[in-house]
């Protein structure tokens, strides 16, 4: 069970690191809250209007927050040489990378879910819709981390990788955005959303299985 030990050691290490860099952890959440706050200021504060566009606002902001947080996934490991050590491990790289992605989601994705009820309240969302919103965030944000990992893995070696990262990653986020925000919208209209939730679940399974493979290939490319 050496592989399992390595997998857990990676998750544990990244969680300790995140905890010791607490200040950085807060950034994506603050960003998420601020962006959502900007919308009422930009489009006007009519409750009707806000309510109808709330799912879109929250999901687009979550998408952007997730993307911003991605840079931290491999950056410091790349800079201090830990990434090389990770790649030299005899264990399958994709599993170790999956560990890193899980730890990253726990410190950046999970907090988004925790503050979402507050933002839903800001935008006047109904309780039914809120429950569905939480469901979609739980299923959707891990997909964002997994797919995003491929993008950062490709760009971590670049000095000006930030802009290109958004170009690589955001188009791939489109399906999650469509199904997740649609589910919330339907739920606020009192319609059934099982189909959307199931599709999101399918996407999550697919991403869990597939995404670590190109991500590890891309990291090997990046250190060369």
């Amino acid at each position: 069970m050496a592989l399992l030990r390595a997998f857990i050691a990676i998750i544990r290490r990244d969680l300790i690191l995140a905890f010791r860099r607490r200040a950085e952890m807060l950034n994506p959440i603050l960003f998420f809250i601020i962006v959502v706050t900007l919308f009422p200021l930009g489009v006007g504060a009519q409750p009707q209007l806000l309510q109808s566009i709330a799912p879109g606002i929250i999901w687009v902001s979550a998408l952007l927050a997730a993307m911003l947080s991605l840079d931290g996934l491999f950056r410091s490991d790349f800079d201090d040489g830990s990434l090389e050590q990770l790649l030299l491990s005899p264990h399958p790289t994709s599993i170790l990378i999956l560990g890193k992605i899980i730890a990253h989601w726990l410190v950046t994705g999970l907090p988004l879910i925790l503050v979402a009820p507050l933002l839903a309240e800001f935008l006047g969302m109904h309780t039914d819709a809120l429950i569905i919103l939480l469901k979609t965030l739980i299923l959707g944000t891990p997909v964002l981390s997994l797919v995003g990992a491929i993008g950062v893995a490709l760009t971590v070696g670049l000095r000006r990788g930030g802009m290109i990262l958004s170009l690589l990653v955001l188009p791939l986020y489109v399906p999650v955005l469509i199904f997740a925000s649609n589910a919330v919208e339907m739920a606020s209209g009192g319609l059934p959303v099982d189909a959307q939730i199931n599709i999101l679940l399918a996407m999550l399974c697919l991403a869990l299985v597939l995404a670590p493979l190109p991500a590890s290939a891309a990291l090997k490319m990046s250190v060369s």
């Binding site: 491929i150 490709l154 760009t155 070696g157 670049l158 000006r160 990788g161 290109i164 170009l167 690589l168 955001l170 188009p171 791939l172 489109v174 399906p175 469509i178 199904f179 649609n182 996407m203 597939l210 190109p214 290939a217 891309a218 490319m221 990046s222 060369s224």
Partner: protein, 252 residues
């Protein structure tokens, strides 16, 4: 590999050698260009002159002779790019890498043309240049995917490394394209936009259809010509230190 007949295998083996590829494609391109010219003239004559005007859309439907083949090509080229990239990634064949990256800009061009012609066609139909029609939206996202590939290739200095990055990205993209396509289509049916008469009506009259197919084949030829030309340039730039390129430059 043992499923491939021997002469074909031999052909690909020889094509994998850069000097042979350069020489062979140099002789191939004029032939391809003539065929392309013949097809495109025939297709355009058939589409713009011979085909009758549409009973609903009048003459403005004729833009499909550019739009539809470009839209088909935009997807086709992406798949070719991903396959070539995958071959380059697995078997480390330099030429496959070059074919992959040379396809990207051509494919982006087709996607762009499909978008522009789609919007030109939409103006008389819908009264605006842009509607969030499922096809146009998918094409737009496809364009972003192409631009991502081109941008990533440009951002990495070492071109062999860049080729590997592009191949990985193209493979990820090709898995995602169907998902993106269907989710956009699904999104579009829910948010009922303007009711659009679909471009590829199932019952298109034969006199309208054959020029379309001819144009589609012509576009394939155009792609091969443009891609090969880019690939030849890329090849010479990458191999500028090798003996055969030096000989080539001396003989010119």
């Amino acid at each position: 590999m043992f499923l491939i007949p021997k002469p074909v295998g031999k052909f690909f083996h020889r094509m994998a050698s850069p000097p042979y590829f350069y020489d062979f494609t140099g002789r191939l391109i004029p032939w391809l260009s003539w065929i392309f010219l013949f097809l495109v003239i025939a297709g355009l004559y058939g589409g713009l002159v011979l085909a009758p005007a549409d009973y609903q859309q009048g003459d403005s439907f004729r833009i499909i002779y550019i739009h539809v083949p470009s839209a088909w090509m935009s997807l086709f080229v992406y798949v070719v790019m991903a396959i070539a990239g995958g071959i380059g990634l697995i078997w480390r064949i330099k030429l496959a890498e070059i074919v992959a990256i040379s396809s990207a800009s051509v494919g982006a061009g087709f996607t762009f043309i499909a978008l522009v012609t789609g919007s030109l066609w939409g103006k008389p139909m819908w009264g605006t240049w842009w509607v969030w029609d499922a096809r146009l939206t998918s094409e737009l996202i496809l364009l972003f995917l192409y631009l991502g590939v081109i941008g990533l290739y440009g951002a990495i200095d070492d071109k062999r490394t860049a080729s590997r990055a592009v191949a990985i990205l193209a493979l990820v993209g090709v898995v995602n394209i169907p998902i993106i396509h269907y989710s956009v289509e699904w999104w579009n049916t829910l948010h009922q936009g303007p009711t659009v008469t679909k471009m590829d009506k199932p019952s298109i009259h034969i006199s309208m259809l054959w020029p379309l197919l001819v144009m589609a084949v012509a576009f394939k030829f155009y792609y091969v010509i443009a891609m090969l030309q880019r690939a030849r340039t890329e090849l010479v730039v990458r191999e500028r230190n090798s003996q055969w390129v030096k000989l080539l430059l001396e003989s010119k």
